[in-house]
Amino acid sequence: MVATVEARAARAAVATPRPLRRTGIAWVFVAPFVVVFAVFWAGPLLVGLGMSFTDMRSTDVRNPLGVDLVGLRNYLRLFDDELMRKAAFNTLVFVVTTLPLTLGLGLAAAVALNSGIARLPAAFFRLGYYLPYITSIIGIAVAWRFLLDPEAGPVNQLLAAVGVDGPSWLADETLALPVIIVMTAWRSFGFDMVIFLAALQGIPKELYEAAEVDGAGRWERFRWVTLPMLRPALLFCTVYSSIGFTQFMEEPLVMTKGGPAGATTSASLAIYNQFGSGNFGYAGAAATVLFTVIAALAFLQFRLARPR
């Protein structure tokens, strides 16, 4: 018995020699990534962390030795800062509404496109739904701001035609953030749709047939076959989108500049503004908190969604 195992091991060793390590040449090939990562990502990440414990301002860039350590003061200030708290709250609201909206629209579109409609129209719809995702957010924001203009915009003009007095969407503290949420979902769901479509097409037909034999109705087949099979795709879209949405800033930057009265200021936008005013240390502290939140969020989602 022992001899057999040994013989088998010996045969296996002959059949699959240890792959030759090519460490020297391989590091030449990965050098572009190593250099860019070290210089532009790892370095700045550490510098940003270090900066967050100082009072560095933009004027100190030429003389980095002139900055003072301030310990945790930047972090403590963060929690007292009315605008930062508002920005954190807005980001939370944005993520928990935009995420399900985008996933839902993407899933609905994918299921509809996969429900047996002809190939050519399906390709046409898929193309159309995907378009907003690849366009410049600045271009989109400019267009939407025009569409929603209280006087010149067609949306309110159409509302007026049916006797409704349209609000000034982006100047209204309660409406501005919802508008940005809808715009983001409108722009992003095509991405989720394409991923869901690919996943849907990978579900074996036999599973549906078996479920049908067992007497499962349309909804039950969706609930007990489609959804579980889409789990990896759903997980991916959730993680990928929530990382992206947590960083949102370009939309409010162009549509509302974070206003009115901070109603659409996001965490990233608040950091960007601090950077613009030259408060590098304070902005570094806020950025470190944001990165921690995003990393924790991604980690948590992977843990929660791990196959049981």
Partner: protein, 269 residues
């Protein structure tokens, strides 16, 4: 009405909602400012005009910005095509010490929000004397995690025997890479090139930070700054939006197969 007809009706209604902002804005960009503001609105322009575009190019350096965006995007594409496939080749076909750790770092970079590293990146670029240069805009994204994933995945599917046979024949790794592996990667390179092009073309925050004078602005930067200055000049603004968005839409319509492939890949990696 059958269920299938309802599906078509729903899909068509959705498409109208998706297309409306594009269509309305495109048509409005050919209307004079007075017609844009007319109530009730017109759908098709009563009076077609290119005045908005003429005014836009007169009052801004959008033509320069168009050129800048093209240069930046093409440079980013060239860098990513070469470097991501080199790195991907090492991860896929060259066993080496530290490979797993390094691949973990690729994942880490994917998760680092741009805003978090932006300030130190800017300080760094400034210390290199690269503020307000194309190089400063391009360098941080000359090789990207997503591109490395894509190329690694694709090259891993190339049979090992091809690479081994060449090695037995005495070919150097660089020759194997350029003469055997790279020619087989054309579909993946097409996808990567397109994704890089549109990411770079649409990129906004970093170019806005690095480009400091109007002659260095990329299109989104030029449009954003113009829209801050002229918040209500809708004719000029939406003409600008069309100039920024239209090239990507046209490229997309012709090459959409590769875009969709790329997105699908992103989701299944």
């Amino acid at each position: 009405m059958t269920r299938r007809m309802w599906t078509y009706a729903g899909l068509a209604a959705g498409l109208v909602l998706v297309a409306f902002p594009f269509g309305w804005t495109l048509l409005a960009s050919f209307k004079p400012e007075s017609e844009i503001r007319r109530d009730p609105p017109t759908f098709l322009p009563d009076q077609w005009t290119f005045a908005n575009y003429a005014g836009l190019f007169e009052r801004t350096q959008m033509d320069q910005a168009f050129f800048n965006s093209t240069v930046v995007a093409l440079a980013a594409v060239a860098g990513n095509l070469l470097f991501c496939s080199m790195v991907g080749y090492a991860f896929a076909k060259l066993p080496f010490r530290g490979r797993n750790v390094l691949f973990g770092l690729v994942l880490v970079q994917l998760m680092v929000p741009a805003i978090v590293v932006m300030i130190p990146q800017f300080v760094l670029i400034a210390s290199f004397g690269l503020v307000n240069t194309f190089l400063g805009i391009i360098l941080p994204t000359i090789v990207t995690p997503l591109g490395i994933f894509l190329m690694r995945q694709f090259i891993a599917d190339i049979p090992d025997e091809l690479v081994h046979a060449a090695r037995v024949d005495g070919a150097r790794e660089f020759r194997i890479f350029f003469q055997i592996v790279l020619p087989l990667c054309k579909p993946a390179l097409a996808t990567l090139g397109l994704i890089t092009f549109f990411t770079s073309w649409n990129g906004f925050i970093w170019p806005a930070v690095v480009a400091q004078s109007e002659d260095m602005y990329t299109l989104p930067v030029a449009l954003a700054i113009f829209s801050n200055a002229q918040a209500t000049q809708y004719g000029l603004l939406i003409a600008g939006a069309v100039v920024v968005v239209l090239p990507i839409l046209v490229i997309f319509l012709f090459l959409q197969r590769y875009f969709v492939q790329g997105t699908t890949f992103t989701g299944l990696k």
